[in-house]
């Protein structure tokens, strides 16, 4: 970890204030009544005391629960369409966890693909992500089973490692390095770097929930048509939207018009494949039955998306496990997917 710098936690407020001159700064907070990333108020860094992870994932900064795509009004010349004003200022998301940062790279694949999404892209390109490695993973975290980990740097520009009173900082992209270079931080000593490595290893040991996800796509494919299996899996699911709406890698959205033909807006809002009307057509609904929706969700994350992009569309943040009203646990379900028989073998 050559070139590492560091900062004392007690000096953090000063650094954040410095950064908030250049960026629209987001930090974890609970002032709204729940843990989410909100704009830094200039003083409060008390999140260092309680922050493990937010309830609303940081994807909300790039794919908000609701956003205006364009507005329209009708005058004598007909309908006029107006795009919303471009956000000029750059964003800095501070203390994003590795699972959530990696999740954004998973969303990137979808939103940059084929027809790039201008709204998502615009925010994404203007954002710097400063990651904070975990020191206290939840018992519901399983990042190490899905290609991530409490100190992974995929998706962040700067990685912070907590070594007690201080945070060791390291730029992992050019933009991150430039930002650190311009921030007047002191160099981290070799001893600091050693402590950082130890902190990272300790965090990794603390992730105790594990699932063997090798060949998971093939295993799911093998059991795909077993209706009885899926009905049993889906039995206690409520078909609410908690797991999907609060998942950092879920991105399904709906498009609706508000207003009237005279004046209104077209908005995008997050949707959920768990809802019965998600696939409803006038004459039929291919996923009217709950077990089909549950099967589709699981297979999308662990089979279909990997077939397209070579990565599991889940980063093990554990929100779905913590927040599900009936404790439907994706890691238990995955453990239960039958192993491939000798005849089937991995594909």
């Amino acid at each position: 970890m050559a070139g590492s710098k560091k900062i004392k936690k007690q000096d953090l407020a000063q650094l954040l204030s410095q950064w908030s001159q250049e960026f629209s700064l987001f930090v974890p907070s609970r002032t709204s009544g729940l843990a989410e990333m909100t704009e830094y108020d200039g003083q409060d860094i008390s999140f260092l005391g309680w922050y493990r992870n937010t309830i609303i994932p940081p994807k909300a900064s790039f794919l908000p629960h609701m956003e205006e795509m364009f507005s329209f009004h009708r005058n004598k010349q007909g309908h006029q369409l107006e795009l919303p004003p471009l956000e000029e200022q750059k964003r800095l998301i501070f203390a994003i966890r590795p699972c959530d940062a990696r999740a954004l790279t998973i969303l990137d694949n979808v939103f940059e693909d084929t027809y790039p999404d201008p709204y998502y892209r615009g925010r994404r390109r203007r954002a710097i992500l400063v990651g904070l490695g975990c020191t206290n993973p939840y018992d519901s975290c399983f990042c190490t089973s899905v290609g991530s980990g409490p100190s992974e740097t995929t998706g962040v520009d700067i990685m912070l490692t907590d070594i007690g009173d201080e945070l060791v900082t390291r730029g992992t992209t050019k933009a991150g390095e430039e930002l650190i270079a311009g921030s007047g931080l002191v160099k981290a000593t070799k001893a600091d770097q050693k402590r950082a490595e130890q902190s990272q290893e300790a965090a990794r040991q603390k992730v105790t929930r594990k699932v063997d996800t090798r060949d998971m796509a093939s295993r799911l494919q093998a059991v795909f048509d077993d209706r009885d299996y899926w009905q049993q899996i889906a039995a206690k699911c409520l078909s609410c939207g908690i797991c999907t709406l609060l998942c950092p890698t879920c991105y399904c959205f709906d498009i609706n018009d508000e207003g009237s033909p005279e004046k209104g807006t077209r908005c995008r809002s997050l949707d959920s494949c768990a809802f019965p009307v998600y696939t409803k057509m006038p004459m039929e609904n291919p996923r009217d039955e709950k077990w089909r929706r549950v099967r589709n969700r699981l297979c999308h994350k662990y089979e279909f998306y990997p077939m397209l992009f070579d990565t599991i569309a889940c980063t093990g943040c554990g929100r779905c496990i913590r927040l599900c009203p009936v404790n439907w646990d994706i890691t238990q379900i995955l453990e239960g997917v039958p192993e491939l028989s000798q005849a089937e073998g991995p594909k």
Partner: protein, 290 residues
């Protein structure tokens, strides 16, 4: 890496934004049946009018501003660019709003989306078009496309049916094709009325009677799911291989560009990798999903 590479296809983006519709004006409204209307439209933007192209089988996302957006296939032919057309059955919020529009009204259009029919693969082949009800809409684009380049294709059979004579769509096309000696049209209805003097019978049964040869042939099937379900076995019996049977799949769609997620079957998106699929491809898709 996505399944369908459409990087070479032309895109017509408004202000570079893939969600922003172009404004179009309705120029003509044709009542096909009591619940089905065809709209002819053209873009307000002159340059776009001149430049716009599409392929038969592709669809657009049509907007009624203030109400919403819905996908419909483009039912006009790319060989006849004096107008663009789409055909709408009145079943819900957006379709009801569309049916309330008059000539001169403005709508939004995003597209063309989807893969379209593989018309190059149809050259030199015998073509069997099988359609039911409003399913003729995507097919008619292809039929006119074929007729306008008639020499490239061999025998053309068109088998079309509807529930009753009143439910037959595109009656003006049926008249033209009846008179056209270069195509063979077989029209039928499930149930006749006192004025109907034509054939009575279900489309799959009429197809069985026509018994087109499978040799060097491609069948294109479009219609209600139950018609398709009974048509494929007939084609199989006639010797058509799964690769020789094409159809269009219908799913609830919103974005039309493979992002919002809802039209997926397994790892493919019907809006981007379809809506045209061969029966061979459909059999390979996660089958019991569909």
């Amino acid at each position: 890496m996505t399944i369908t590479d459409i990087s070479q296809r032309k895109r017509f983006l408004a202000q570079g934004n893939v969600y922003l519709p172009h404004i179009a004006v309705i120029e003509r409204i044709i009542d096909e049946t009591p619940g089905i209307r065809t709209f002819h439209f053209n873009f307000k933007d002159e340059r776009l009018r001149g430049e716009f192209t599409f392929e038969s089988g592709q669809f657009g996302e049509f907007s009624v501003f203030g109400v919403g957006e819905a996908p419909f296939c483009i039912s006009s032919s790319p060989t006849r660019q004096d107008h663009l057309g789409f055909t709408v059955q009145r079943v819900g919020r957006v379709t009801n709003a569309l049916h309330r529009l008059a000539v001169g009204a403005e709508i939004g259009f995003r597209g063309p989306y989807g893969n379209g029919f593989p018309i190059n693969n149809l050259e030199g082949k015998n073509l069997v078009f099988v359609a039911g009800g409003i399913g003729l809409a995507p097919l008619r684009s292809l039929v006119w496309n074929v007729i306008d380049n008639r020499a490239k294709y061999r025998n053309v059979d068109i088998i079309y049916g509807a529930r009753s004579p009143a439910d037959l769509c595109f009656k003006y096309d049926l008249d033209s094709w009846q008179k056209d000696k270069t195509v063979n049209l077989f029209t039928t209805v499930d149930k006749g009325d006192d004025k109907w003097k034509g054939r009575v019978g279900f489309v799959p049964q009429v197809l069985e009677g026509v018994a087109p040869s499978a040799e060097g042939a491609v069948a294109v099937v479009c219609g209600p799911p139950i018609m398709i379900r009974f048509t494929f076995p007939v084609l199989e019996k006639l010797g058509f291989a799964p690769e020789q049977m094409l159809t269009t799949l219908e799913k609830r769609m919103k974005c039309g560009i493979g992002k919002c997620g809802r039209c997926n079957i397994g790892n493919i998106y019907v809006c981007r990798d379809g809506p045209v699929f061969s029966y061979a491809q459909i059999m390979n898709l996660v089958s019991s999903e569909y």
